[in-house]
């Protein structure tokens, strides 16, 4: 079976042509793959090497260097919570503890929790601290009291 769909292959080809060198296309192509499949699998990297001549060592270096690429199968909703200075001053750690409680409550209900939580460096929205991303959606002024509401919008507790 083909590793990539024809649409994705077309996008890959587009990026390979778009920049001065093929190698420059590695970051955008990994974004395309992650957006489509949720994460970057070994078979994707092998295919990029064999079919598109992007050296697997170069791709793997990039995929592991940048923190936004996922190399393990993700949960449906990836929460990136800023745990840098401003957000922490404004209560990020306490709020993250609440996120964790939500996840634990979900799991206690015997269900596989669709959320994962990671602390990340500054998201560049300190005026709305504490801030978090759920997948690509930005949420601001999150606090221990309102964080569950945000999570419920994505997946209410069972």
């Amino acid at each position: 079976m083909a590793v990539f769909t024809p649409q994705i292959e077309e996008k890959i080809e587009h990026y390979l042509q778009r920049y001065e060198t093929r190698r420059s296309a590695i970051l955008p192509i990994l974004h395309v793959i992650q957006d489509e499949y949720g994460w970057i699998k070994d078979e994707h990297i092998k295919e990029l090497d064999e079919k598109f001549q992007l050296h697997r060592v170069h791709v793997q270096e990039v995929a592991t260097f940048y923190s936004m690429y996922r190399l393990k199968e993700p949960k449906k909703f990836r929460i990136l919570f800023c745990d840098n200075v401003v957000c922490c001053i404004m209560g990020a750690k306490q709020t993250m503890a609440k996120v964790q409680e939500y996840i634990v409550a979900y799991e206690k209900a015997g269900k596989d929790c669709p959320f994962s939580l990671e602390g990340v460096p500054c998201l560049g929205v300190c005026d709305g601290a504490p801030a978090m991303l759920i997948n690509k959606d930005r949420h601001l002024k999150i606090n221990p009291d309102n964080v569950a509401e945000y999570m419920e919008r994505y997946a209410p507790l069972p």
Partner: protein
């Protein structure tokens, strides 16, 4: 100065307008007029105007922009203009605000700057997490192409320039100009050895200028209004306006455009509305996480310009002002700062790779009660040997650490002596 300061709006002139991001709004209020002016002049004239304006790099280092441009060799061949829109310095969110208000201002600034330095191709390197902003800028670039501001023979005046946006993938180090170049080349965002400098050998070995979003966005106004008009704002050595992003426990945190030389406490108390009820000022980080911390007495009469903040042994940096409230434990703060640098060190140079990890490691001892007062001196010694010893300035992350040790040593010592147990959070 005080209350008499008139606030000229340059970068934030589209604030409050509906549809401010659209080409029509931008044009309605004079957008792309500077471009027509610029393309009728010679590139050298533009470089001179920007030189004379005294515009300094707004990304953090404050290097004179016109001077940076003049390092580009006048030879034929491929040259690049890169916009550093990888806003990642914690506490900084000013460039995001420009994209939110008027992405066309950046585009116009880039076309003029590219004309000045002889670049035929430009990239805006935007941090990954700015998903909305990336879309806004992409849309604006598309509009600009359709309107003939980008591409071949711009405005029929014979200048060709192509512009594209490139999305980062989560690495603070790509905000360092050569790290950005490596990343744009599709590699790990590791800074490059200098010499050679990017102006001579940058992106793919071609002469390359890297400027910050805010710097480039100021160029249209300067070209249109002249260098004297820009110099009339701000101080003699720090002319013009600057965006300050101010955050922390404030009534009205946000981005404010003020002339350089503006009193810091006026910004805190008036523009940002002062601290929230019940909060008291303990310290201020004046220029992004890498700037050493200042005490209330240091900032009482401090003005926001490169020279004044440098004189107070910190730096203006990216103009990110972080308010540290009284309740904040400085050991926790120090750990947060070092966790960040530890996480973001690219790992290339040994002193930074090992030093950031080592300091974080020692700081762990503050929380498991194994630390001794000697550890403070050891952190200090490690910082002294890291700073300035690496390819890029990330190892100068030692500076805020030294700053905290200098100003809050007593608090660190008493933390160790009390043996405080840290509040642990299970998410880690």
């Amino acid at each position: 100065m005080g209350d008499t300061i008139t606030k000229v709006k340059i970068l934030t002139q589209y604030e409050g307008m509906s549809n401010s991001r659209s080409l029509s709004t931008y044009k309605e209020h004079g957008g792309y007029e500077a471009l027509a002016v610029a393309l009728k002049k010679s590139p050298d004239e533009i470089v001179s105007i920007v030189k004379d304006s005294g515009l300094r790099g707004r990304g953090g280092a404050g290097f004179p922009t016109g001077l940076k441009w003049s390092f580009v060799p006048k030879t034929e061949g491929k040259k690049y203009l890169l916009c550093n829109n990888d806003e990642g310095e914690p506490g900084t969110f000013k460039d995001r605000y420009i994209l939110e208000l008027s992405p066309h201002m950046l585009i116009e600034g880039m076309i003029i700057s590219a004309f000045a330095v002889g670049a035929q191709k430009g990239y805006v390197y935007t941090r990954c997490e700015f998903f909305d902003e990336i879309k806004w800028l992409d849309d604006a670039i598309k509009e600009a192409y359709e309107a003939g501001y980008l591409g071949k023979n711009i405005l029929g005046l014979g200048f060709d320039f192509d512009l594209d946006q490139y999305q980062g993938a989560g690495a603070y180090i790509c905000g360092e100009e050569t790290g950005l170049i490596s990343s744009l080349e599709g590699k790990k965002g590791q800074p490059k050895l200098k010499p050679p400098f990017p102006a001579v050998s940058g992106y793919l070995g071609c002469p390359t200028v890297v400027n910050n979003t805010e710097t480039l966005s100021a160029v249209p106004w300067i070209v249109k209004n002249g260098s004297d008009a820009y110099r009339a704002i701000g101080t003699e050595k720090s002319p013009g306006t600057k965006l300050f992003s101010i955050s922390g426990p404030l009534k009205n945190p946000g981005v404010f455009e003020v002339p350089l030389g503006y009193p810091m406490m006026k910004l805190v108390e008036e523009d940002a509305g002062g601290l929230l009820e019940g909060e008291e000022l303990k310290a201020i980080i004046p220029g992004g996480l890498s700037a050493p911390v200042l005490l209330p007495e240091d900032v009482k009469d401090l003005t926001l310009d490169y020279e004044a903040i440098a004189a107070s042994k910190s730096m203006l940096g990216s103009g990110a002002i972080t308010i540290i409230p009284k309740r904040q434990c400085m050991v926790e703060l120090l750990k947060l700062i070092m966790d960040f640098y530890h996480h973001e060190s690219c790992g290339q140079c040994t002193p930074c790779r090992e030093g950031t990890g080592w300091i974080t490691n020692i700081l762990e001892g503050f929380f498991d009660k194994s630390a001794t007062v000697d550890d403070i001196d050891q952190i200090y010694a490690i910082c002294q040997q890291m700073a300035g010893r690496t390819i890029c300035a990330l190892s100068d992350a030692a500076m805020p650490t030294v700053g905290i040790i200098n100003k809050f040593r007593d608090e660190l010592v008493s933390y160790i002596e009390r043996g405080t147990e840290r509040e642990r959070f299970s998410y880690i």
